[in-house]
Symmetry: C2
Subunit: 337 residues, 2 copies
Amino acid sequence: MKVTIKDIAKEAGVSITTVSRVLNNKPDVSDNTKEEVQKVINRLGYNPNGVARGLVLKKTYTIGLIIPDISNPFFPEVARGIEDKAKELGYSVIFCNTDNNKEEEREAIELMRSKQVDGMILSLSIGNKEELHKLAKANFPVVQIDRKIPEVELPAVTINNKTSAYQITSYLIELGHTKLAHIAGDLATKTARDRLSGFRQAIDEFGLEYSDNWVLKGDYSKESGYKLMTTLLEQSQRPTAVFMANDLMAIGAYGAVFDSGLKVPEDISIVGHDDIDIASAIRPGLTTIMQPKYKLGMTAAEILIKRINESNFIGDDVILKPKLQIRSSTKEWQANA
Amino acid sequence: MKVTIKDIAKEAGVSITTVSRVLNNKPDVSDNTKEEVQKVINRLGYNPNGVARGLVLKKTYTIGLIIPDISNPFFPEVARGIEDKAKELGYSVIFCNTDNNKEEEREAIELMRSKQVDGMILSLSIGNKEELHKLAKANFPVVQIDRKIPEVELPAVTINNKTSAYQITSYLIELGHTKLAHIAGDLATKTARDRLSGFRQAIDEFGLEYSDNWVLKGDYSKESGYKLMTTLLEQSQRPTAVFMANDLMAIGAYGAVFDSGLKVPEDISIVGHDDIDIASAIRPGLTTIMQPKYKLGMTAAEILIKRINESNFIGDDVILKPKLQIRSSTKEWQANA
DNA sequence: GTGAAAGCGCTAACAT
DNA sequence: ATGTTAGCGCTTTCAC
């Protein structure tokens, strides 16, 4: 049987209140009894029952983390940032993968709530406005990460994906490219939509022609990157540069280019987004947008926990700065006569 | 205020016992009242308090996952396997990073226990026998993953790292290499020790000479791979092939070779271990040992939960099969006169 | 078929 | 400085 506060009380010859007092470092215990009780606690190897404590305190010191997929290389670092900050502030994290599936997301949120987490960090598909509205209305502590669902008043920690997409597309254009393609991410996500929209903005502003044939809809996976890049290369009119909506798809694209007997960047420039580990490891190094993933996580956890502990604190959106990371997958392009 | 079982009872005009009965699908409720109660539950959006339930049931339907670092590319996939299986069986997972730090590990275990997890999946450094012994003695459900601490009677889901190291070293030898080096992982881990020992066994069995200069102690990080490979290359006698204890270090080694103006595999063959995503994405593709990471996770979760639910079940060790994954970072070697 | 009461392990008034 | 009591939200005897 596990040893409880009662056992300690009996063994030490005091009331459970007194034990509780020394457990929580409350005043009003004589040094003597405190010491005595502490000894018994150590001797019996007592470990307070957090569940019981949680029930009376209405606080579990646990936060929920709901993300699409921990095995997508973007998320482990943000998860690490979250866990580090949470631990620092005395919280644990319970996590759940949803694959951007609306129903999974709903269930995950419900589950977390029934587990009485003190707050949640969410990266949801775009379909789940209602769920978020409910949480907001219930005044439940939530911070969104990576993706901010539009029209939802919950704070978010993100980068500006439209800007980053605009920036990297502009970079391609400044290199002399005029035939640009984009392979979009899962358009059920806000990030994919924003990146697409940043791409189009750049195309428009620089007065380049826009072709539906050169904007393909992927799903952020390596496989879809490979497949869609293959499709792109099979077209009669080939772009000279392509913006892949994330690095994972860019990796897939490398393979497709290679398999077509072409070369990056000589025949086609490729850029990605996120700067996951692989981006700097592959050759040619992938030009991409670096997202401060760890910091994204740290910041989200920090805001969430502040929100949990200060009822009058409503977190603001935090928009972190990404950075254009130029490597070797891009080169200047001269239109030849 | 959150709605409780009491509110439902009052609103439906029944006792809380009855509400509890319909909540848990117990018999002895008339179809009529059941339906009535269910209606109220839906109307009020009631969500049972898992903490209260956990207190009386002494069961939280939560398992703990303690690993060195979720942002090490080896772990996300195993974490995903664990979460998938856990979810399937009705459990959630709460996770914690320890960086192979003994004290962090101790604290994490204690934390999990105070949170009353039903069981834990652990990947610990080798220093923590005592902690594991305590858990074993307390008959607390635990399964080890990736690394089995020696002399501890808790089931483990692993591959045989000595065998895999032996296998990949033999492959190098069969290619004609006779000057082999090994850059070990963090020797505070069982895996690193086993891989080193498999390497030495191959060296011994094939009667190759062994030099301490060619066995360097890394820590599984990319940076240490780069640094130690540089050290290796600076030596007067250079090996022609090196077994890096994991893929991450192998990536670092690629950089070191490149920066020395040498080429993989023409000047030096390199192999890794684990087959993380990057291994197949980089050029030349990294010859390595593929670990069934997702399955490792699935299996561990399955055993753990079975162990939780069947008091007489003691899980056996499961040793999964790795696979030699030959790519282009290795080539035959002819000793030239 | 239904409800009253006890109790899970703890904290927090409220005495004393 | 210490103890008594109530109660957190739920499940489970036990009685009716």
